[in-house]
Subunit: 236 residues, 2 copies
Amino acid sequence: MTTELRDLPVRAVDCLKYIYKMRERGEKVTTSAMRELLETQEQSGQLSDAAVTQLFKLLAKEGFVEHTPYRGVELTPRGEAVAAESVRHHRLLELFLARQLGYSLDEVDAEAEKLEHAISESFEDRLDTLLGHPVVDPHGDPIPNKAGEVIDEPSLPLTQLEPGREAVVRRVSDDNAEMLRYLTQLGLVPGTRVQMRGREPFEGPLRVFIGEDAGGQERVIGVQVAGSVRVAPTTR
Amino acid sequence: MTTELRDLPVRAVDCLKYIYKMRERGEKVTTSAMRELLETQEQSGQLSDAAVTQLFKLLAKEGFVEHTPYRGVELTPRGEAVAAESVRHHRLLELFLARQLGYSLDEVDAEAEKLEHAISESFEDRLDTLLGHPVVDPHGDPIPNKAGEVIDEPSLPLTQLEPGREAVVRRVSDDNAEMLRYLTQLGLVPGTRVQMRGREPFEGPLRVFIGEDAGGQERVIGVQVAGSVRVAPTTR
DNA sequence: CATTTATTTTTACATCTGTTAAAGTTACTA
DNA sequence: TAGTAACTTTAACAGATGTAAAAATAAATG
């Protein structure tokens, strides 16, 4: 086990975790992007770019990232191991909060963020057992196993589902609580069946049938909303 | 709600909590006693007396304690409110760890110590509901309610139980993991029935019958062990 | 391709929290 | 009650982590 995680400042671990998540989405990890993420996701309020630069330099010195000045950072294998364990903690906790304590989809992220730095290896293992060795969290995001490996179920953004095709919601973006409340209200949560009814060109709105035949209904949603949802098409 | 708890440094909150617990036991809160407690209970390793003095001055300036230089500190009502909430977090978590995650009596304190600073008001309330609004933790220590009040079941140290008298174990001291493992092995845990069979003078060993008639057995224990156990005599 | 604009890094400095060592206070003892 | 031992506080300073503003670099534009 690595568990260097517990020797690093909380903010440094979060930083590695966010690099991991940005790479999951294929985004480049720049100084200002990281500053924005840390500002919105941590409860710390404002943060300067200079602080992020210093963080990058610390992480580079300790061998967790490659830092190319003025270009951004990338995880080394060591950094990825720490990030994966942090993400594992976070997502196990999210599932626990949703399942055992009745938290809603938009609440779990903030609470897990605070708890993930406080739990021990033993707590992690017991939670994993209690939850039945889960592989996805309540948002549908994969939970890395102890070795840091994830099961990557193929999915595509709802925006790319062809008209007429049916699908099952697999993942919803976890980083915007307000969006999650809206998605929950629409019923666009992991496990729900959907059918694309129509798409307007030029980033126009989408008509989507949400739910099972009788209980479901057709809704019109914007691309930003649809872009927050990933689906797995149903084979026909 | 006070909840000033979340604006204070972790160590300051711990300090208030330990003042609260020392007063529970009727001990005086001196600089060096607090240093020892912080060293053993937090995982921070060594600590200087000077650091504790500075902590006392900070807490006094903010109105959480009365500090009489060279004499020690006492909680103000504000300090007591924060301490009680901290203790509430700690003991609810201990019960959760023991009940839901199968932690043993000697493990819960250290894990709860780390988690108690990370949980939100909402988490506290949901845990309280999940556990059925409990009034004692796994060691038998009372859990303050939201108003900071505790139910104080009368009990006396096992060392003071008269020969021949029967009793039920109510509380075990929570601050020594090794002692807790020994007590667990003996069966001297909250809820167990005991009968005092004999006491030797001059702090000598005690003969105690532990358990129900058939399954129980007589053991000889030292005063330090017996002093870690509080019991409620069975009326006859 | 020179210049402007945006971004990132460096520098100088502030704050918080800890340390060690000296000085101060209290309590014990002969 | 003077002297000493134990404990506590103060003073000087150190390290970690933050900021603001200046300097450096990269990217965009006429």
